[in-house]
Symmetry: C2
Subunit: 350 residues, 2 copies
């Protein structure tokens, strides 16, 4: 067990030893060691006192060092139910693997029991860092992680960057610019009635994509029409129903911008069942650029989110923090890119 230390800001401070912590806490060295190693045979009061001191002195719980036990990072999803997840895993694993660090993948299903179990496991395996995807954890768990002095990075932050207390670094994509680019593409093809299928409103990325869509419309002098916005949840089914609702209007859109690829595929299915062709009758744009959408029928025009790269940046950031190094920036947004394929075309003259 190395005794490297670093301040909470990522800068280095003089090293602190377990012995010094034990003296200050008035407990034995093995007791401090038990707390550091996440063992359960320490009274809650002693644990709290020792952890406070460890945190105060910026003691790093475990270091990847030659001959030491290998390091681990925890990668936490709400659910492992989307091809989206494998892209993030791929990026994180690639960087961690190079550093000899294992990537522990967990799903906590937004359930308190599952989160408690995960926290217990995390403490026991003395993970060197935690990458949360779409801020899978409640503020109370963030606080607990900070108490353990485990570095955290949030990929695709769900809400406002300011968590309770000093904020964790975040890695996202330029969602607003992506929403703008997709809408500008449809406008440039001549579309004026453009439907939008939104993601969950509690997520920052959903709101940014919607705002990008609005901004493009406004810049083109096309009035924003709330009737052209359907509410979705990023999954296929909601894209299907959202598109169906938009097409049921007396003045249906000639193009639909679904703010996730899965919703775009759902929208294409809704159009297919109505006997409408994509892109001849209705254009469809997605958001994500999952590998399989270049093989949808037709291949999908979409906004590329560099998901694997987001995983890589998150892994680099959390590993730098774990080593007590400075990080480049606490807020990173990687550029999105419009991928024009076969699902968009000019509107048919009425």
């Amino acid at each position: 067990m190395a005794t490297e230390s670093a301040g909470p800001d990522g800068g280095t401070k003089p090293k602190v030893t377990i012995t010094a912590i034990a003296q200050e806490a008035g407990v034995s060295v093995p007791t401090v060691s038990r707390v550091v190693n996440g063992r359960s045979d320490v009274s809650p009061e002693t644990r709290a006192r020792v952890e406070d001191l460890l945190r105060l002195h910026g003691y790093r719980r475990r270091q990847a060092a030659p001959g030491d036990r290998a390091a681990l990072v925890d990668l936490v999803f709400n659910d492992l139910d989307s091809p989206w997840a494998v892209e993030i895993i791929r990026g994180v694993e690639e960087i961690a693997h190079q550093d000899g660090v294992g990537t522990v993948v967990s799903a906590i299903h937004g359930r308190a029991g599952s989160t408690r179990q995960w926290m217990k496991n995390l403490r026991a395996r003395a993970s060197d860092g935690v990458i949360l995807v779409t801020s899978a954890l409640e503020p109370v768990v963030h606080a607990e992680l900070r108490r353990l002095n485990v570095p955290i990075v949030v990929v695709d932050p769900a809400g406002s960057p300011a968590l309770d207390g000093p904020a964790a670094p975040t890695v996202g994509a330029t969602n607003w610019a992506g929403g703008l680019a997709a809408t500008e593409h449809l406008l440039s093809l001549g579309h004026r009635r453009i439907g939008f299928i939104a993601g969950p409103p509690r997520l920052l990325c959903s709101r940014a994509r919607l705002d990008g869509y609005r901004a493009a419309l406004e810049a083109a002098g096309v009035p924003f029409d709330q009737a052209l916005v359907a509410q979705g949840d990023f999954y296929h089914e909601s894209g299907f129903h959202g598109c169906d609702q938009l097409m049921a209007s007396p003045t249906p859109p000639t193009a639909v911008f679904a703010s996730s690829d899965q919703m775009a595929l759902g929208a294409i299915e809704a159009l297919r069942r109505r006997g409408l062709r994509v892109p001849e009758d209705v254009s469809v744009v997605g958001f994500d650029d999952l590998p399989e959408v270049s093989w949808s029928a037709p291949p999908l025009t979409t906004v590329r989110q560099p998901l694997a790269d987001m995983g890589k940046v998150a892994a680099r950031t959390v590993l730098r923090q774990a080593r007590g190094e400075e990080i480049d920036s606490p807020r990173v947004e990687l550029a999105t890119q419009l991928m024009i394929r076969a699902s968009t075309a000019p509107p048919t003259a009425p």
Copy 2:
């Protein structure tokens, strides 16, 4: 560090202590401990002698025990480049999570350097078990894992079940029965010229699916025609080219059975570009039932492989082995199921 022990057959034997191993090896207790913990500061000769004794006495390197460091299983893929992978991860993680075990996901890209790095990491983190997907490792690595006395389970075994030495348990799907069911479905619709896009011939599952296709044809009295078989590699691109090749024949098939979902989506794109409609002009069947193919255009008829369940069985098996318990069966094949959707229909009368 617990000192539970178990025979290589999974039965329990009297416990052996580190002290006893140290005595027998003629080394100090800390040296044995260093070997057990995968540290590098032990000479290769001493390491080999101690590891031989650990293996001989069936010493388990690490046990998940209350208050002990949390357990880990390693889940190893060749590549993390398919939505297929996330299904396996989901199943393994669910079972491991319940047991307080972390799932360390790795990709070794079939490269020796990457495998060596992974082996080094595995040893250092003292993983309790290894789940290999599509037998990502060379026989020499299997031998090394056995030397470390780490339980192994192979999901979707690549080759013949007999590895060099005592075989690892395997978890697969009824690939032959799946190939048979898909072909019988097309035959029952009235198709007689049925194309087949095969997976990599080195994989057992590819060969089983092809044999199931042949068996169904033979049972229906339809002669097998090698010209109707295209070679693929399970990825989209090969399904596209394979289907294109089949359709270029003077007597093209009226149905195509692609032995992976990704190849089926590639096949549909090849047909779309030729101006052929699915299923009106050509029927298409896939294999896997990835979540997204119920949303392809049209929704794909396919053979469901219970990938998440395969991950669950693999996790249960490796954790039972790690605890020194008996496993139910060293060879498990989970049932496949034909999912009939909108990509298959009777052939059009000529």
